[in-house]
Amino acid sequence: MKIKLLILILCTASMECWADINVVKIYGNLDKDFRSKSIWKGQNLDQSITLIGQPMIVPKPKKTETSVIRVSAVHDGKWIAFRLRWKDSEVSESEKLATFSDAAALQFPVKSNEETPPIMMGGKGDPVHIFHWKYQYQLDAKNGMKSIDQIYPNMTTDMYPMEFKEKGNFREATKEQKEAFVGGTAAGNPQSFPKTGVDEIFAEGFGSSAVSEYQLAQGFGEWKKGEWIVYIARPLIYENGSKLHIGRKSHIAFAIWQGGKKEIGAIKSLTMTWTPVNILEK
């Protein structure tokens, strides 16, 4: 009941809830050129979308850090690209302890484009397909994952298990043996491996997100004068995921994290209603 009341109040307060995102067709290769200025040159009619601080489950943000994002989208018949813009006073990355990265996510239904799943990351049997861009993931892709002595240059350690500084008259340990005591790596946790920029995730309700086996989507963000401009591109059709059909309607939801305000996980600003998305034929 609480959700329905909240949605009603939000939607009557702002007509933007009913505004659709119209995705025009352009000629190009979005999988390669999704960031190119020439693609976005004609796209000046951003849709403004309202977000609020995640209100439903603990931990919650104390206030809404990002109340508005502007969205444009184009497609080339095979791929679709979104451009998101929102205000953030600082750039935040998450190498060091207790720091968090700026991030943005797009969420799409999987089962049905018209009958949307619960907005809070789907529901049991009604999954959502999430595209999660993080500035830290983008840095991974650019610089590789930094080692601890690069993150903390004054650190010191005598040795790591089975990694000897000098080669001696013994058999070198295997990669598996060296990583046996590195928890996340040995367990194959996706967080412990270098990212490409955008994570593709499936979820059936909050707390259940799992990184997809296939990572096709691409993303790139630029921060200029207090504003993030983030491009996320993905194939229109996924066999086992979100299918955006040309000439038909689907829905999208958004989430933004401001790392500098210690936003992570459930502490974020998001849309509490699905925004209709029309994939136009022209």
């Binding site: 040795m159 790591y160 005591f181």
Partner: protein, 376 residues
């Protein structure tokens, strides 16, 4: 929120999950009258578990000096400050707030978030006295220049704040031994557990980008052995066993005997409401008010009982069993000045005389034709 029974504060309290006590509960008892902060336990743990990448700063077991030491910085002072002044009348339940009850609407538990620098001073305050010792001071017992060492591991709490705080349910408490673990494949590194744990025993790994914590040496425990930090303790101040809640306590279970039967060992900061499973015999010369804030209102009776140890041959026997074996002692008894330790099946693990026998040898050994040196 569910209502669960917390025997340490002697009342029901709120917790996000239903009461579900494990079949056996891992617990360690420490005798703080004996700890010398040699840090062997810290290094035993480190060389076993935390020598990997990203773990360089981690001390799943650490030893800090009280009152001025802390790792991470000011962890206990900050959480007590956040909780605010609370009252606990002697012989009554704790009616103040736990960290779950003091939580604001946006959080699972009242907490503070440590910064990375807070972890970089593990020896801060070491050996610092509570009061100044000036030139010309004459000090006799009892005196107010005190300090003591506090060795601490994860407490594998009955009501863990880390487990309650994880939005992904990536932390679980094992039914077989009550050990609390972070699932290394499901954790996404949000750090909610790092913030929520008042004892700050959940730690973020910047190499794997997920969080880790003391695993209770579960691979050893599964084979019937005590954790590394316990067996490597030079002063033999520790014993690990399986504790029962008070309504199921057995006198011949070492941990039950120290905690429930004699009241010698007390949980630390029980008022926070997690029902932690590491228990301390309080240091008898430290300030009582300070000890009461840390161990609750039963400090005076615990110290009184400890002072009367010479009249309790059973307790004496148990204390000599500490550090006498690396196997987990399920049962013990003391007969005719000898303490016996038994495993789960009832087979004897070890027996130890309470008083070490004295052997007197002549200064000159006729057989070998040489003098004996008094070299220990």
């Amino acid at each position: 929120m569910a209502k669960v029974k917390n025997w340490q504060i002697n009342r029901e309290m709120e917790y996000p999950y239903d009461e579900n006590r494990p079949k056996k509960q891992w617990a360690i008892v420490f005798d703080l009258n004996k700890c010398i902060a040699c840090q062997t336990c810290s290094l035993a743990c480190k060389t076993t578990w935390t020598s990997g990448k990203g773990q360089e700063y981690m001390f799943w077991n650490n030893v800090e000096t009280k009152p001025y030491g802390s790792y991470p910085l000011a962890w206990d002072v900050k959480v007590l400050e956040r909780l605010g002044h609370q009252e606990w009348e002697k012989k009554k339940p704790y009616y103040g707030k736990t960290i779950f009850e003091a939580a604001e609407s946006n959080e699972r538990a009242a907490h503070f978030a440590p910064e990375d620098k807070d972890w970089m001073y593990p020896n801060h305050g070491e050996d610092d006295c509570a009061g100044q010792v000036n030139k010309g001071d004459y000090i006799s017992l009892q005196h107010d220049r005190w300090f003591f060492y506090l060795p601490r591991t994860c407490a594998h709490c009955t009501y863990p704040a880390c487990l309650a705080a994880c939005p992904r349910k990536a932390i679980y408490k094992r039914q077989e031994d009550g050990i609390v673990l972070i699932d290394q494949s499901r954790c996404k590194g949000y750090g909610e557990c790092v913030k929520a744990c008042p004892y700050k025993k959940s730690m973020y790994n910047a190499h794997t980008r997920i969080s880790e914590k003391c695993i209770g040496c579960y691979p050893f425990v599964e084979q019937g052995y005590q954790p590394r930090c316990v067996t490597n303790c030079i002063g033999k101040i520790r014993i690990m066993g399986f504790i029962n809640p008070p309504w199921k306590a057995r006198s011949n279970n070492p941990v039950d005997y120290l905690v429930h039967k004699t009241g010698l060992a007390l949980p630390y900061y029980p008022q926070l409401g997690l029902e932690p499973n590491i228990y301390y015999i309080p240091p008898i010369h430290a300030d009582r008010e300070y000890l009461t804030q840390m161990f609750g209102p039963n400090v005076d009776s615990a110290i009184e009982t400890y002072r009367k140890l010479k009249d309790d041959p059973i307790a004496q026997g148990l204390l000599v069993l500490m550090g006498s074996t690396d196997r987990i002692i399920h049962d013990f008894n003391v007969k005719s000045g000898i303490a016996y330790a038994f495993d789960e099946k009832g087979d004897e693990i070890v027996h130890v005389p309470i008083k070490e026998q004295i052997f007197i040898r002549p200064a000159f050994d006729e057989k070998l034709g040489s003098s004996r040196n008094n070299t220990p």
